[in-house]
């Protein structure tokens, strides 16, 4: 069998390469309506008309010469790997800008296919493109697609297969003005002398242009040829002298001149050119309004969390009823004994107590898919840039931060889009403060139990605290971590788009699967472990003889007083048993640390177990209360268990304290230093403790 033909999908950020990749290969990679959703290479093989194609989704970039780190993955791939075919994905609505990259790709001399993606938007705007003329001018086949609607996919696969089988065509050559051409020629000759027989004419011309452009990487590669480097500097200053512009600008202008000229010939506008983006303008007048913009952003987030709580409550009740039914059934069928107790009070309480939050999580992910898919998230980072700048952060940091609402692990990974190393480290260290979906069950449980009437708002307030702490902590870290510098805010605002039903549903399905996997994995194991820890040791020396006391009570004639006394005795016995169990004893050992915050040993126990994964906090509560109070609903049981101020302090502590094990691991990996991972743990614990103390003290005075 012949080896597969490598086809690289290359385009500007947000040109739809990943949507195209998904349509071509049936993959399910994440897509959204903002730039740089894809940050690493993904490849998949497909066979079309007998040809095996290895399709590679390359992270988007604007230029092969900008050398900004977020564009590097793509550039390095094109230059280092030399794919067999380049599929140049263009956003057909933004050809003026996207053809710049095309001119650079032409110079690589690699076989190309040009894809005009999002053709539906262009047609709607009344724009007609003469694809035959465009194809001959670019020296490549042109295919029109609409990746989201899966239009033009077969035609594209056909073009790939045909190109894989065809003999390579003569590469196209872009012509610059005479001064530039002469300079390129001289550098090219110099290069051929230094590397005789090694370089094809296309390759040496490409290298010459890159060097004249001032590409540091290519220059570094040739740095041992001092004469050549001197030569290039001479050419650059001669050109600058003649044109009053540096060489990079001259080349860039020439590239745009080529694409502008080409577009004048191939593109025809019927009607109003701005018609297609009229809706975007109207929506932006509203969402980016100078006075309304920020309040609207807050309002949208409030609606999101309110809906997460209140809409989630309905299906949650069904699941609760289901869990109750199952628990009763197991309770009755299993014979009395330790296994019965383990299943009912351990597994059913822990797993059942956590799974009920599934609807809330799916709803949260639905809203996040809408925010990122429509293009609103890009606007939010524009609105917030100034404010975040004050905190030493960058507007675009908002995107990994919002991703952190889902899970902190991808949020830490998403910081790789930040150029400046120090800025990236800071973004990484603040991302665990973003309230991931594992904290959501704790908020919903506590807000529902202690603040029934304003539960949605309390959940919203927790998320605001989460953002606020992240920002505040950025200021602090900016002082602690030596160095300075940040990135420029350069961001394209995409037009508003309607996310496809498919991608939204996929997002929700993914989150549901992830949550169920956690519940049946770490939560299940955690619940079993916690049950054993709270059940043993069994030979407890009680402070009084409960058994005898209960037996004595039973001998008395029936009366309401007798029942009450028995209940009190039983509950006191259960409580003492818990407190003297391994779980209780170790929790009580650390409780002095949490005493100032008003936490009992139950909270301490939950905090300790939640270190593994924060969903375990609720599972721990469920197991403890199942043992103490029987199988009542957790929300009901929890009511009145502590003052409201303590409840808030506990929510805040859970929100902020030490990231879960997976997050600590990813911080260590991404910062390449376990010291920063350790720092993150100590730092967040301190933050959590101080803030929880402040809240319990201040709240205690008011509530």
């Amino acid at each position: 069998m012949t080896s597969p033909v490598t086809v690289a999908l290359v385009g500007n950020p947000n040109a739809g390469s990943t949507s195209l990749f998904n349509a071509l290969t049936g993959a399910q990679s994440a897509v959204a309506n903002y730039q740089r959703v894809t940050t690493s290479l993904t490849a998949r093989e497909v066979t079309h008309r007998g040809v095996t194609l290895r399709i590679v989704d390359v992270p988007g970039f604007f230029s092969t010469s900008s050398q900004s780190p977020e564009e590097k993955v793509g550039c390095d791939y094109i230059h280092g790997e030399e794919p067999d075919i380049i599929v140049n994905v263009l956003d057909a609505g933004h050809l003026d800008r996207s053809l710049f990259l095309t001119t650079q790709l032409i110079e690589t001399g690699l076989p190309r296919i040009t894809v005009l993606n999002m053709m539906d938007e262009v047609r709607r705007a009344g724009i007609r493109i003469d694809t035959a003329l465009l194809a001959s001018a670019l020296g490549s086949p042109v295919v029109e697609t609409c990746a989201l609607k899966k239009e033009g996919i077969d035609a594209l696969l056909d073009a790939m297969a045909a190109m894989a089988l065809a003999a390579p065509a003569d590469p196209l050559r872009l012509h610059y003005d005479s001064h530039l051409e002469a300079a390129i020629d001289r550098v090219q000759q110099h290069l051929s002398k230094l590397h005789p027989q090694e370089l094809s004419p296309v390759r040496s011309r490409w290298l010459a242009i890159k060097m004249l452009e001032g590409d540091d990487e290519v220059l570094r590669h040739e740095s041992n040829h001092v004469e050549l480097v001197e030569d290039i500097k001479g050419e650059q200053s001669a050109l600058a002298h003649e044109h009053d512009e540096d060489t990079a600008s001259l080349l860039a202008s020439a590239r745009f001149a080529f694409s502008n000229g080409l577009l004048r010939e191939v593109r025809q506008q019927e009607g109003d050119p701005t018609a297609g983006f009229k809706l975007t303008r109207i929506l932006d007048d509203f969402f980016l309004n100078r006075t309304l913009g920020l309040p609207l952003l807050l309002g949208i987030l409030w609606v999101m969390f309110e809906a997460t709580f209140s809409l989630g409550a309905i299906p949650t009740d069904w699941i609760k009823a289901g869990v109750q039914l199952a628990t009763d059934l197991v309770d009755k069928t299993l014979p009395e004994g330790m296994f019965h107790d383990l299943v009912v009070n351990g597994v059913m309480a822990g797993v059942g107590g956590t799974i009920v939050f599934l609807p809330n999580i799916v709803i949260l992910f639905f809203f996040m898919a809408i925010l990122s898919g429509t293009g609103y998230l890009a606007r939010a980072s524009f609105l917030m840039d100034r404010v975040m700048h004050h905190f030493g952060l960058h507007g675009t940091t908002l995107i990994p931060m919002v991703a952190g609402f889902g899970c902190n692990v991808p949020a830490v990974m998403a910081t790789s889009v930040i150029t400046n190393k120090r800025a990236r480290l800071i973004a990484m260290l603040i991302s665990p403060f973003m309230s991931c979906s594992a904290r959501l069950p704790v908020f919903i449980l506590f807000a529902g139990a202690f603040f029934e009437n304003i539960a949605g708002t309390v959940v919203f307030a927790m998320y605001m605290t989460s953002i606020g702490t992240a920002m505040l902590s950025a200021v602090l870290l900016n002082r602690i971590i030596p160095g300075s510098g940040g990135d420029a805010f350069v961001m394209e605002l995409p037009p508003y788009r309607l996310p496809t039903m498919h991608s939204v549903l996929h997002h929700m399905w993914d989150s549901a699967q992830g949550f169920v996997a956690k519940v049946t994995g770490v939560i299940l194991v955690g619940s079993i472990v916690i049950w054993f820890l709270q059940e043993f040791p069994r030979d407890i020396a009680y402070s009084q003889d409960f058994e005898t006391a209960i037996t004595e009570q039973a001998a008395l004639p029936d009366s309401p007083e007798k029942d009450a006394a028995t209940r009190t005795l039983k509950s006191a016995q259960a409580q003492e048993k818990l407190e003297k169990s391994y779980l209780g004893r170790s929790a009580i050992a650390v409780t002095p640390l949490f005493q100032p915050l008003g936490f009992s040993w139950r909270e301490s126990a939950s905090i300790m177990t939640g270190f593994v994964a924060k969903e375990v906090v609720v599972a721990t509560y469920a197991v403890i209360y199942a043992q103490e109070k029987g199988s009542e609903q957790l929300t009901e049981t929890l009511k009145g268990a502590m003052p409201p101020a303590t409840a808030i302090a506990f929510m805040i502590f859970t929100l902020l304290y030490a990231p879960c094990l997976s997050t600590i691991a990813i911080i260590g990996k991404e910062s390449k230093s376990w010291r920063w991972a350790g720092f993150s743990v100590v730092y967040s614990l301190t933050f959590a403790w101080v803030l929880a103390l402040a809240v319990s003290r201040i709240g205690g005075a008011f509530l």
Binding site: S66, D96, S253, F489, V490
Partner: protein, 84 residues
Amino acid sequence: MKQDIQMDNVTLADLRPEQQGEIVKIETEDGVFKRRMQSLGVVSGTAVTLDRSAPLGDPRIYSLMGYSLGLRNAEARQIRIRVK
């Protein structure tokens, strides 16, 4: 000549909503930033208008080459323009 000197001082950050601008030059020592801006169409001769400003006047959204580009004022000050 006097007029020329005046025009020299106009940057993208000075562009007002009703005005039409044309890029003249990017004035920066930062090669990466310069090449990045160039690849986004900020080259001599490109027509540019101010779309809108963020609530606190910074950053701003500019319209050029048929798309919207968000830039902070600090960066916009490094881009010299001519007002038509």
